[in-house]
């Protein structure tokens, strides 16, 4: 992901060393920073996942105490969502949106620099919180009140971290929306934009709509803890369930904030390796928009068990089921894109197909969960854990891998090792399923999530899942090796490594992409 920049004029002057990265306002540099940051956080969150899976390898308490276990599940969730997946796709946005829409850079380059550099302090706060008295927040990534009131200083650090991450996201979103709307090249009208750009426009909008809601939620938690307010305290006239409504009003669109850019990447990769235009471009745009709109109407399906009127349960169930329609349209479109194409299976395509296959499984377990009575049975069990890992890991992460392998030649001018890339895919694919498929069975049998120890009938599936998790984790270290090898000593990439890729960055820019691209806009016919 390290950019090897072409020095067109031989006159390039940058501050060197670390200062270059601290002061940079170049969208490609910042994209690179985002990607490396997210990979680092992916490793940190991954180690936490492995601590969790080690404890769950066998019944009984062996590795950690229950309180630390809860800190691990909480931080694993927060770090993976806010530190790994979201920044990864912002990294893609930074690299690709200007190049794909014919813009010279992001609309506000200096703000772009700030939105990145807010992330490391926030991540540090989360990690430091492990070492303060009382340890890190241990209330789950959902931070449900009133458990949060009982926690120590680690909770306050988490709240500040969430605030900083939120600010970064908001600045990033404003930048992305302004760039896409104002800096498109002449002739690049909305319905000509590559789907990746479209999906980010929608995602940035979702972020703008829900980030203040999250900021408000954690602020109320803070004032309840320290300043005697009673937003979520029944004894003072508040309502703990209000927190859940607020959190999930943010949380459900957040799910799509993670998934929608992943749809975008896959919608670039599948046509490229099918050598055929994306099927149903218009319906893709409409389907994505309807998913975004519906995501505001379904939040309470995360909380059927708090007890709500029957009319509310029915409304949220119908609205949730409805999401299956546009999601189905997208899957059908991707399959139709492959249909009668001229397919090849380089690593990006493998990950895209893996995405398609496993994300659809996650979608179907989502449909199972949308049925309220079944959801009540499966709520807060491992079935839900399995479901959202199919959507987040097999969905977002697989598509991020597809994106890295797809654009790495454009970014660095070098090819990754195709054999190693295929190994990475198959190892990831197999270990992912070993880890998470069996968790469906655990959930069906009634194993609650977030428990450090479990009854004996859950033992064998947990052991299988833990073995899978370690395999999965190691496969990602292998990914790091593949990327570093490509950057250091990869073969030089041809100008157009993928013959089917036809967006601007492939057709109108050299490989590797120059440090400054499209300083005057290209004209799109």
């Amino acid at each position: 992901m390290e950019a090897v920049h072409a020095h067109e004029h031989g006159h390039e002057h940058h501050p060197s060393g670390i200062m270059r990265w601290v002061t940079t306002t170049n969208h490609k540099d910042i994209g690179t920073l985002y990607l490396w940051f997210s990979f680092t956080m992916f490793m940190v969150g991954g180690v936490m996942a492995l601590i969790i899976r080690s404890e769950l390898f066998q019944p009984g308490l062996q590795v950690v105490n229950p309180d630390f276990f809860n800190q691990m599940t909480t931080l694993h969730g927060l770090i993976m969502v806010f530190g790994a997946i979201m920044p990864a796709f912002v990294g893609f946005a930074n690299w690709q949106i200007p190049m794909m829409s014919g813009a010279p850079d992001m609309a506000f380059p200096r703000m772009n620099n700030w939105s990145f550099w807010l992330l490391p302090p926030a991540a540090l706060l989360l990690i430091i919180s492990l070492f303060v008295p009382g340890g890190a927040a241990a209330a789950g990534w959902t931070l449900y009140a009133p458990l949060t009131v009982q926690l120590g200083m680690g909770m306050d650090l988490t709240i500040f971290a969430v605030h900083i991450l939120g600010m970064s996201s908001i600045m990033g979103s404003i930048n992305i929306i302004t760039t896409i709307l104002n800096l498109r090249a002449p002739g690049m009208n909305m319905m000509k934009m590559p789907l990746f750009v479209w999906t980010w426009l929608i995602t940035a909008y979702l972020l703008i709509a829900v980030m203040p809601v999250l900021a408000g939620a954690v602020t109320m938690t803070l004032t309840d803890r320290h300043f005697g307010t009673h937003f979520f305290n029944a004894a003072g006239g508040g309502d703990p369930v209000l927190f859940q409504h607020i959190f999930w009003f943010f949380g459900h669109p957040e799910v799509y904030i993670i998934a929608i850019p992943a749809f975008g990447v896959v919608s670039q990769v599948i046509p490229a390796f099918s050598r055929k235009p994306l099927f149903g471009y218009t319906s893709m745009v409409y389907a994505t928009s309807s998913i975004a709109i519906l995501s505001f109407l379904v939040w309470a399906h995360h909380m059927y068990t708090v007890g709500m009127p029957v009319q509310a349960q029915l409304f949220y169930m119908y609205a949730t089921m409805l999401i299956a329609v546009p999601t189905g349209v997208k899957v059908f479109n991707w399959v139709a894109t492959m249909w009668k194409g001229s397919l090849t299976f380089e690593t990006p395509m493998l990950f895209a197909i893996g995405f398609l296959f496993l994300f659809t499984m996650g979608g179907f377990s989502g449909l199972v969960l949308s049925i309220t009575p079944v959801d009540i049975q499966l709520h807060d069990t491992y079935y839900v854990v399995a479901h959202f890992h199919y959507v987040m890991v097999a969905g977002a992460l697989f598509s991020a891998f597809a994106g890295v392998y797809f654009w790495l030649p454009k970014w660095t001018g070098r090819m990754y090792d195709e054999t190693l890339g295929k190994w990475h895919f198959w190892l990831t694919m197999i270990f992912f399923n070993v880890t998470f498929f069996v968790q469906h069975f655990l959930g069906l049998a009634g194993m609650p999530r977030r428990i450090p120890d479990y009854a004996l009938q859950f033992a064998d599936f947990n052991m299988i899942s833990s073995i899978g998790a370690f395999g999965f984790g190691l496969s990602q270290v292998f990914f790091l090796y593949i990327v570093l090898k490509a950057i250091r000593s990869g073969e030089k990439s041809p100008e157009r490594p993928w013959e089917g890729a036809d967006t601007l960055e492939w057709t109108m820019l050299p490989t590797p992409a120059p440090y400054h691209s499209f300083e005057t806009p290209p004209v799109i016919k």
């Binding site: 019944p59 009984g60 308490l61 229950p66 309180d67 809860n70 449900y144 009133p146 458990l147 009982q150 120590g152 305290n233 004894a235 703990p240 050598r275 055929k276 235009p277 099927f279 471009y281 218009t282 708090v306 029957v310 349960q313 169930m317 089921m321 299956a324 329609v325 349209v329 899957v331 399959v335 492959m338 249909w339 009668k340 194409g341 001229s342 397919l343 090849t344 299976f345 296959f357 659809t360 179907f364 449909l367 199972v368 049925i371 009575p373 079944v374 049975q377 807060d380 069996v438 069975f441 069906l444 049998a445 009634g446 609650p448 977030r450 120890d453 479990y454 009854a455 064998d460 052991m463």
Partner: protein
């Protein structure tokens, strides 16, 4: 690793044994949920196989290496309308039975009996409010010994799913469960009975079940509630109505026997003996049997300012808890239990306050 073999060898029979599916349903609602899940699962599997057989056909036949040339079509309005509309009708087919079940689940009217389940960190308290057994009230703690959890003793059959006092209910009766909580969110879940309801501090929610067959049905707290979230199981014992009547009689006589004269004066030895039991059942999860606690979240009592300071302050702290910490109120315990446990804390480990607290003093401090 036995699971992997089982995974692929899953025959029809194993579905019924709940290894790969929901637990065998034991109430009308659980049965409906089971059937709904099977219906949706089957529809999903059929669609999944259908869609991906197209994909795999394309992967095999439409690949470049077999010389397939790419077609250039990129839209087809008819097809796109069809695959938007058909899923819509399939969804309606799923929503219809689901709606019926939701309405049935939410109908908590005309119960034969009502039991209030109050969640504490980390145990359940039950009060039989209405119907046969009215007035019975007890706590239900994890019965698995610490030695099994830590691995120094082999784990029993019902490891982590066993309690000292199960909820006993008669079969064939509609039992309404009211849930509430004392401190943070918890959830009362018994999968075989198709019941899961959050317990929310300050609010009362309800749900219901009707056990069809006698048996022991086990569940756990399903909402993260802090350190020992994984260690507060729920056990429901459904028995024939005659046996239930018998149990009610026994429980009532036991409860009558344990009522103590509020003005009785206890000796230090009596209080210490009772206090040790109460401490083990309520306090030791955080402050540990050694009184050393797990600082900083769970402070040591051994040598603590509270346990060696004025006794009124000590009693008040136990009665009302400490705001913004994990120290909850223990006002649900009886005056005698509280007097005993405070006395125990003041005179155990290194603590030598030497004083003792009588139930009457606790009573006076309650507000």
């Amino acid at each position: 690793m036995a699971g992997i073999g089982m995974l692929f060898g899953a025959a029809g029979a194993s579905w019924a044994q709940s290894r790969y599916n929901l637990q065998p349903p034991q109430s009308p609602i659980a049965t409906q949920i089971y059937d709904l899940h099977m219906l949706v699962l089957v529809i999903c599997v059929i669609i999944f196989v259908g869609v991906f057989s197209f994909m795999f056909y394309a992967i095999v036949k439409h690949r470049k290496s077999v010389g397939h040339k790419a077609a250039q079509f990129h839209e087809n309005t008819t097809v796109e309308i069809i695959w938007t509309v058909i899923p819509f009708f399939i969804l309606i087919g799923m929503a219809y039975p689901a709606t019926k079940t939701i309405i049935a689940m939410k109908d908590t009217s005309t119960p034969d009996m009502t039991i209030k389940a109050t969640a504490y960190q980390w145990k359940w308290g039950y009060d039989y409010l209405n119907g046969e057994g009215e007035g019975i009230s007890f706590f239900s703690n994890l019965a698995t010994p610490k030695a099994q959890i830590e691995g120094s003793r082999p784990k029993g059959q019902s490891y982590l799913l066993e309690v000292d006092n199960p909820v006993v209910v008669p079969v064939g009766r509609k039992v309404r469960i009211l849930t509430t909580a004392n401190d943070v969110l918890h959830a009362w879940m018994v999968p075989a009975l198709g019941v899961k309801q959050d317990a929310i501090p300050g609010f009362i929610r309800d749900t219901w079940f009707k056990a069809e067959k006698p048996g022991t049905y086990r569940g756990q707290c399903a909402e993260l509630c802090g350190k020992d979230h994984g260690f507060m199981p729920i056990v429901v014992e459904a028995v024939e109505p005659e046996k239930y009547a018998q149990w009610v009689a026994e429980a009532k006589s036991k409860q009558g026997a344990s009522v103590v004269d509020p003005n009785k004066q206890f000796t230090l030895a009596e209080l210490m003996a009772l206090g040790e039991k109460v401490f083990a059942g309520n306090c030791a999860v955080c402050h540990l049997a050694s009184g050393k606690g797990m600082p900083p979240a769970f402070p040591a009592l051994n040598g603590s300012k509270v346990a060696t300071g004025p006794k009124d302050a000590h009693v008040k702290l136990v009665l009302s808890g400490k705001a913004n910490t994990a120290m909850a109120s223990f006002k649900q315990l009886s005056d005698a239990d509280l007097a005993a446990v405070v006395t125990y804390e003041r005179n155990s480990w290194g603590n030598k306050a030497g004083d003792l607290v009588q139930p009457a003093e606790v009573k006076a401090l309650r507000k």
